[in-house]
């Protein structure tokens, strides 16, 4: 048993939902009790999806447990197939259903459907969300392609030359609730297309079962997120001989290395090597004199494996920061994160406990934190600026604008996102020059911590004015007490409105009733 106050990853069936929701023409029947539908809101609220996840929950109850839950599963499978007519059906169970062992996958396979059925066994008591996503994508790929294994020769990455066409690749791993996947895919396709390389399939994001079946039309797989796609890439390599890339194109150096890796695998000459460095503004921005102050800034990094490793490399080699802490919650990538940390003379922090991360952050005394939304909160408590680099997803991590992490534009986004939370070089210099002037106000030191100061000022002034306002109006004890119950962010408005109302009506003492009278008055007026 493990005490958990907050978790970086959901259960493995949420990972399966990420794959199902990312794709087209797929339906997932999940044997699960009432309440597990909460996971829908991750997609509809956080990702702002306009469609419900393609998931049917069997919704078994305590009274069903004595009876035949297997019949309930079959009924739901039949209804889901009739209604949604999926081209491939995923069948699985959440934590509770795993305990009652109805074997929904086997039940589905015995129902005589002619569509492929993927039986998902995702151990809820030992595995987590990313593992579940990876396993689902792997099982799906395997189910849809296994019949082609024996008929197909090993794929020669150079065959495009003989076929007389441009080389083709697949982009594997992007999914819903993955960090900036939507935009990374566009950026990577653009970069490869410029090099004369075509994208055969992007999966799971936007792919249909037919697309999975034609993965083998490509020469090489791009493993864009190891957490989700490595198992599938390995299987495709073992069974079809398809090579896959290992470099994650986040940051300038890794993007260039990635382009090199793809060219090497395809034996495609790289003709514009010299141009590549100028595709992004990051190298020049980092070199420009204002960035001098970035040198040696202490940075603490925590996130999923892919983004934490990439961030460490960019921080050290491309921005000249000093990495003072590195860790991940992705146990599956612990070995790689440890190796990266060792190169930086650090010991990696591998944990799913955010309080441990906060402690490590405190000890490392960084000037910048690169983490998840949870580290953003921790950093805020410690008064340290932070930029978010990794899942778990928050509605703010799905911006309206194009903002990839990968490739050239990704490097631009990263420069802005990591540097803006810091006090700018010139600004820091000027503040240092003027800080002894009498006009200088503490709260104006920078754009950091503004809100905190403002709130405090607001509350303080509130207390003073409450007692006696200049119009001679008095706040009675009941009025003041009522005012303190109003949420702080609207308290100022309520106070002004109530006083305005009191003046209007010639009321000299504001009681709680006056406050409500005013509330009703303005509520009417505001329409």
């Amino acid at each position: 048993m493990e005490l958990t106050l907050w978790t970086y990853e959901g259960p493995p069936h949420v990972g399966a939902m990420r794959i199902a929701s990312s794709m087209k023409d797929i339906h997932y029947v999940l044997h699960a009790p009432q309440g597990d539908t909460y996971a829908d809101l991750l997609f509809t609220m956080i990702e702002r999806r306009g469609q419900r996840p393609p998931v049917t929950y069997t919704t078994f109850q305590a009274r069903d447990l004595g009876g035949d839950t297997a019949e309930l599963v079959k009924k739901n499978i039949k209804e889901a197939v009739d209604r949604f007519r999926p081209k491939t059906l995923l069948v699985g169970e959440s934590c509770t259903a795993e305990l009652i062992q109805d074997q929904p996958g086997a039940l589905a396979k015995g129902m005589g459907f002619d569509m492929p059925i993927v039986n998902l066994e995702l151990p809820a008591y030992s595995k987590k969300e990313n593992w579940g996503a990876s396993e689902t994508f792997y099982q799906l790929t395997r189910t849809l392609l296994k019949e082609k294994v024996s008929f197909s020769e090993k794929i020669n990455p150079l065959r495009w030359k003989k076929l007389g066409r441009r080389p083709k690749i697949n982009i594997l791993g992007p999914s819903l609730l993955g960090f900036r996947c939507r935009d990374d895919v566009i950026e990577i396709q653009r970069i490869l297309s410029e090099q004369g390389i075509d994208t055969n399939v992007v999966a799971p994001l936007g792919a249909s079962p037919e697309d999975i079946e034609r993965l083998i039309d490509a020469e090489v797989n791009i493993c864009l997120y190891q957490e989700i796609a490595e198992a599938s890439c390995e299987w495709l390599k073992r069974n079809f001989g398809m090579e896959y890339t290992k470099t994650i194109p986040i940051g300038i150096k890794n993007t260039i290395e990635f382009i090199n890796e793809v060219h090497n695998k395809l034996d495609l000459p790289l003709t514009n090597k010299q141009e590549l460095e100028h595709k992004s503004k990051l190298p020049w921005y980092s070199k420009s004199v204002d960035s001098n102050y970035l040198t040696g800034k202490r940075v603490f990094i925590f996130g999923d494996g892919t983004h934490a490793i990439a961030a460490a490399k960019i921080a050290k080699e491309e921005l000249g920061f000093e990495v003072v802490g590195l860790g991940t919650y992705t146990r599956e990538m612990a070995r790689q994160v440890r190796a990266t940390a060792k190169d930086l003379n650090l010991e990696a922090l591998i944990t799913n406990n955010y309080l441990e991360v906060e402690d490590a952050m405190k000890k490392a005394a960084p000037e910048l934190v690169l983490g998840t939304q949870m580290e953003r909160h921790s950093a805020k408590r410690l008064g340290i600026p932070c930029s978010v680099i990794s899942t778990p997803m928050h509605v703010q991590d799905v911006p309206a604008r194009y903002s990839p992490q990968m490739g050239w534009e990704g490097a631009n986004v990263i420069f802005d996102d990591w540097v803006h939370p810091l006090m700018m070089g010139l600004e820091e210099h000027l503040i240092d020059m003027f800080k002894h002037d009498f006009e200088f106000v503490d709260g104006h030191q920078s754009h950091l911590g503004h809100t905190a100061t403002n709130t405090k000022d607001f509350l303080k002034s509130d207390e003073k004015k409450e007692k006696n306002s200049k119009e001679g109006i008095i706040w009675t004890e009941s009025g003041r007490a009522e005012l303190t119950k109003v949420p702080f962010f609207v308290r100022g408005k309520v106070k002004t409105n109530t006083e305005k109302y009191a003046i209007l009506r010639g009321i000299l003492e504001i009681s709680d009733e006056t406050l409500y009278d005013a509330k009703a008055y303005f509520s009417k007026l505001n329409y």
């Binding site: 048993m1 493990e2 009790p33 009432q34 909460y38 996971a39 809101l41 419900r52 934590c95 030992s126």
Partner: protein, 418 residues
């Protein structure tokens, strides 16, 4: 009882489980901690429903069952003991610890009552332990509060003192307003359950008159009756009508004249009616479809029809306690279609077919319906906002008029440029 049209439906549901109520219960009683004994799903559910992120160390958590707990390699009771010890060492300010059962803990039949009993002996005088189930196989959403309150009743001492007991979590400011009004009516001994501190439980007995503030407390009501409490039958204090009848019912139980009640609340009613007017203008004649979730649906339907003149297409409710809802149902217009339970797909078919102006639904369904051009209001907001009482009637109406108003602004012809 008015002639409403009762229906039952079964099938796949889109409703939260009882664990979700921890989100408001832990805020109501800041000296209590809610420890769910469950899975990663439970932990993920609460953190997702609680607004995704935590700003401070939370007063709720999950003891996540692992493979070794299930395979019998570790004694689940000992493991839970260990987790509780760690927790109390870390949070010495905890006065009451709720052990909350979940779907997996119920299925493996983990005996939380026995665990609580043992822990009560060990931590006697320091921390009190109670247990209840918030599992989805037994409870929906707000029923979790019913379980938590029921679990506290055995800890409440007996007293024959006459008092008014308000039962059900209220926003603190609403609670204060209610108490003030009752004092003005001449009822001086008023307490709330749950209290603001878990250790300050009200004493109860045969002269305790219970006035419910929330409609989802069936089990709590039953146990309070067993303890001799009198249950005042009334609609729920949502909207002017419901609140007025609620105050009147309480006054009757304390032999206070109706005249006195009207004298006290008339000014409140008048100003509230004024404030309600602008919302009514927007809501009037609009078609409303309520999907089941918070269990407040019937009261909301009554308010939105009777006071805001909305047309009711269908009123969904996760379950229906006809006895508890009697007064509410009597106030509904004839032929109101009430559907208990859910088949979410069939219900959504009916939503689309009936072409509603506004749908009250859970967060999982809101954006998909909006994308189809149907305005929505999330039901979870009702349990987080101060909506009870006469003074809040306009705010309550505002929750429903706002999406319609917004829709009007965004689709207004002045914005169309092509």
């Amino acid at each position: 009882m008015s002639k409403v049209d009762f229906n039952k439906e079964t099938g796949p549901r889109e409703v939260f489980c009882g664990l979700t109520s921890i989100v408001w219960l832990h805020r109501r009683m800041p000296d209590a901690f809610f420890l769910v004994v469950g899975s990663r799903t439970c932990a993920h559910l609460i953190q997702s429903a609680a607004g995704v992120m935590i700003f401070a160390e939370p007063r709720f958590g999950t003891a996540i069952l692992e493979e070794k707990d299930l395979a019998g390699l570790a004694d689940a009771h000992e493991e839970l003991d260990r987790v509780v010890n760690d927790l109390i060492a870390r949070r010495p300010e905890i006065k009451t610890l709720f052990l909350v059962g979940s779907c997996p803990s119920e299925v493996i039949k983990l005996d939380l009552a026995t665990v609580a009993e043992k822990l009560n002996k060990r931590f006697f005088g320091q921390v009190r332990f109670v247990n209840y189930s918030g599992s989805g196989i037994e409870t929906t959403f707000t029923q979790g509060e019913d379980g938590a309150l029921k679990a506290l009743i055995p800890l409440m001492e007996s007293s024959n003192e006459e008092k008014l007991l308000l039962v059900g979590t209220l926003a603190n400011n609403v609670e204060d307003r209610f108490k003030k009004i009752f004092r003005n009516l001449g009822i001086s001994n008023i307490e709330s359950f749950p209290p603001r501190q878990s250790t300050e439980l009200p004493k109860i007995g045969k002269n305790t008159k219970v006035l419910l503030t929330q409609p989802y407390l069936s089990d709590t009501v039953r146990d309070l009756k067993h303890r001799g409490c009198e249950i005042i039958s009334a609609p729920f204090p949502l909207g002017i009508e419901g609140s007025t009848k609620w105050f009147l019912a309480a006054a009757r139980a304390f032999n206070i004249s109706e005249l006195k009640v009207h004298e006290i609340i008339s000014p409140l009613i008048n100003r509230s009616k004024l404030a309600l007017e602008s919302h009514k203008e927007i809501l009037k004649g609009k078609k409303l479809f309520l999907l089941p979730e918070s269990q407040l649906e019937i009261s909301l339907a009554r308010f939105l029809h009777n006071e805001c003149e909305m047309d009711l297409i269908e009123v969904g409710t996760p379950y229906l306690n006809k006895d508890l809802m009697k007064e509410e149902i009597n106030l509904l217009p004839d032929n109101t279609k009430i559907v208990e339970g859910q088949h979410v797909e069939k219900q959504l078919d009916r939503v689309r077919k009936s072409n509603p102006d506004l749908v009250v639904c859970g967060m999982g369904l809101a954006n998909p319906l909006e994308a189809e051009g149907i305005s929505t209001k999330w039901s979870i907001e009702m349990v987080f906002s101060p909506i009870h009482g006469i003074d809040q009637a306009a705010d309550l109406a505002g929750l429903f008029s706002k999406p319609l108003r917004r829709n009007q602004i965004l689709t207004s012809k002045t914005l169309v440029t092509h």
